[in-house]
């Protein structure tokens, strides 16, 4: 019990450290925020210009508004999931850049504690970051959110975050094993997820084999679930199968991620890969 309490408290070390890093790198955070806002607005503007670009039978204002909302949700939810994935998968890259990896790996905390702390931070950070972008997008496009069910949307988001944390932990093994190129390899996973998860197009409408592959991405269900909650106002009654599926996927992905990471850590300690700073 005492040990469990210690591990829980120790996980806060990673939260506090990362918050301090965000404060110290505030200039970079500002740039990152502006980049995200510009990116999200650019995607949503596609809907605004749909009529001019395509020609023919024009979309009604209501249809354009729905398209704007559809793209905005895709962009924002993907941003949140990407931040969660990136923060978790980069936990090793950060330590390598700073030269602290050996200190952290020598500390008397379980790797699970390290990951829980990083994951907690990623959820809070991802949520705060996305909330700021959301406010700006809503103000910029005067989005109609009158049907939105925010409670069920949040529940889907939280349930879906678990799987992304698990995939992120698996991704974190790459910078551990490949000090020079591991961080870039995690970006490949991220790019693959954005391609197959129906971020800007409904997954079922994607060309084969992407449509089939999209079934295996938890992000597909998160984005679809949140669209249903925010556009159609669906609540727990309609979305509970999605939520249960996402939670189950998270409970599978996180232990799998921790197991894969532990194999990678053991290999790194056998071959001396912890000390190289990449």
């Amino acid at each position: 019990m005492t040990m469990a309490f210690h591990e829980l408290r120790a996980s806060y070390a990673f939260v506090e450290r990362n918050i301090n890093l965000v404060k110290r790198y505030w200039g970079w955070e500002l740039v990152w925020m502006l980049y995200t806002i510009a990116n999200s607005l650019a995607v949503v503007l596609i809907a605004r210009g749909a009529n001019t670009a395509v020609g023919g039978q024009p979309l009604s204002t209501a249809q354009v508004d729905t398209l704007i909302l559809f793209l905005a949700i895709g962009a924002l939810v993907w941003h949140y999931l990407a931040v969660v994935f990136q923060t978790v998968s980069e936990m090793i890259s950060w330590e390598r850049w700073e030269g602290t990896i050996e200190y952290t790996f020598m500390a008397p905390v379980r790797r699970g504690t390290h990951m829980v702390g990083t994951a907690l931070f990623s959820l809070v950070y991802g949520f705060a970051h996305t909330a700021v972008v959301l406010v700006i997008v809503v103000l910029a496009f005067d989005l109609n959110m009158s049907h939105a069910n925010y409670v069920s949307a949040s529940a889907v988001l939280i349930a879906g975050s678990l799987s992304l944390v698990g995939i992120g932990i698996m991704g974190a093994v790459l910078p551990l094993l490949y000090p020079e190129r591991g961080a870039e390899m995690t970006h490949v996973i991220q790019a693959a997820l954005v391609l197959i998860s129906g971020v800007y197009i409904t997954a079922s409408e994607m060309p084969e084999p992407l449509a089939t592959i999209s079934i295996f991405s938890p992000a597909t269900y998160v984005i679809e679930g949140i669209r249903s909650a925010l556009i159609d106002g669906e609540g727990f009654a309609e979305l509970w199968p999605t939520m249960v599926g996402l939670v189950a996927s998270g409970f599978l992905m996180i232990p799998l991620g921790v197991y894969v990471f532990s194999l990678g850590e053991r290999y790194a300690k056998r071959t001396g890969r912890l000390k190289r700073s990449g």
């Binding site: 309490f5 210690h6 408290r9 700073e98 050996e102 200190y103 020598m106 008397p108 000390k275």
Partner: protein, 297 residues
């Protein structure tokens, strides 16, 4: 025996019982070999070079008693840092065993981690963070009470010569000597029973070097810690260590007290030998030459 020897109430959930008769450190026939050159992917991409086998630690055995300052003396690239990494759970030996207070570093890794701390030649800090932020991170990882840690950080760093305003400023603007003092303070804060120092004074000016050496002695005397120190500074080894192992090419070539090592090579009618002379007689080369040789290979 309760291991957190000083102010144990400040260490929450981290005190562990160890065998009171166990030695501080036992290194038993340890070997570590690294393989360098193209890996599987490199070979698939057509790289034809042979993978080179580098023996970093070659059948090394020694014992360190509680409260000792034990030196590992040798040129660069001779396996000193590898030895320290093997003791600090960052590397696994290919053969042999390392035990710390009777605990096996592989099998009992979690418990061993609670007994040790390491200061390496490169100060491992989040450079944008301040000494206070870095040390609080360490304190939380080691289960030190945060309120106690905050007070203690200021106390230790001030004693080591850091000004109050530096404690809250980013570490990237600090000199290497200052950063190394913060690294020593971080080790002090967690009161390890086995402190592993991997060339802690390399690159420091003489004044900073003396301060770090005084801090090491103090840690041993006031915290009852055992210290393993790697260095290629002969004078430092001579002044600081109770016993010294001289290593060359991954092997221990001699191990004894500084005085006994000197006696080993003393010749009638000659001036009393220095540790440099001991190294020259035992390995056939000067330490500086061995360093240059290591840089070239």
């Amino acid at each position: 025996m309760t291991v957190a020897t000083t102010e144990p109430e400040q260490f929450r959930g981290l005190r562990i019982e160890v065998d009171p008769h166990a030695r501080a450190l036992e290194v038993d026939d340890v070997t570590k070999v690294f393989r360098q050159g193209p890996g599987l992917i490199g070979r698939m991409r057509g790289k034809r070079e042979e993978r080179k086998r580098v023996v970093a630690v070659d059948h090394v055995s020694f014992v360190v008693e509680r409260g000792e300052i034990f030196g590992v003396l040798g040129p660069n690239g001779t396996g000193k840092s590898t030895l320290i990494r093997l003791m600090s759970t960052l590397l696994m030996p290919d053969t042999g065993r390392v035990r710390i207070f009777g605990l096996d570093v592989e099998r009992d890794e979690a418990q061993v981690k609670r007994l040790i701390n390491r200061v390496s030649v490169e100060a491992s800090f989040f450079k944008k963070l301040s000494p206070m932020e870095n040390l609080m991170y360490g304190a939380r990882l080691y289960g030190v009470d945060p309120a106690y840690a905050r007070r203690k950080v200021v106390e230790i760093l001030t004693r080591l010569g850091l000004e109050n305003r530096s404690i809250g400023s980013s570490m990237e603007d600090m000199s290497r000597g200052m950063q190394q003092k913060v690294a020593i303070a971080r080790a002090f804060l967690t009161a390890p029973v086995l402190l592993l120092l991997d060339e802690p004074t390399t690159g420091l000016d003489p004044h900073s070097k003396r301060e770090v050496q005084a801090a090491v002695r103090e840690l041993r005397d006031t915290h009852e810690a055992t210290v393993v120190l790697t260095t290629h500074d002969m004078q430092e080894a001579d002044e600081l260590c109770d016993r010294i192992a001289i290593v060359d090419k991954g092997r221990i070539v001699a191990l004894d007290t500084p005085a006994a090592l000197k006696d080993m090579v003393r010749q009638a009618g000659e001036a009393p030998p220095s540790l440099e002379d001991v190294f020259l007689r035992l390995t056939g080369k000067k330490l500086e030459e061995a360093d240059k040789e290591a840089e070239l290979t």
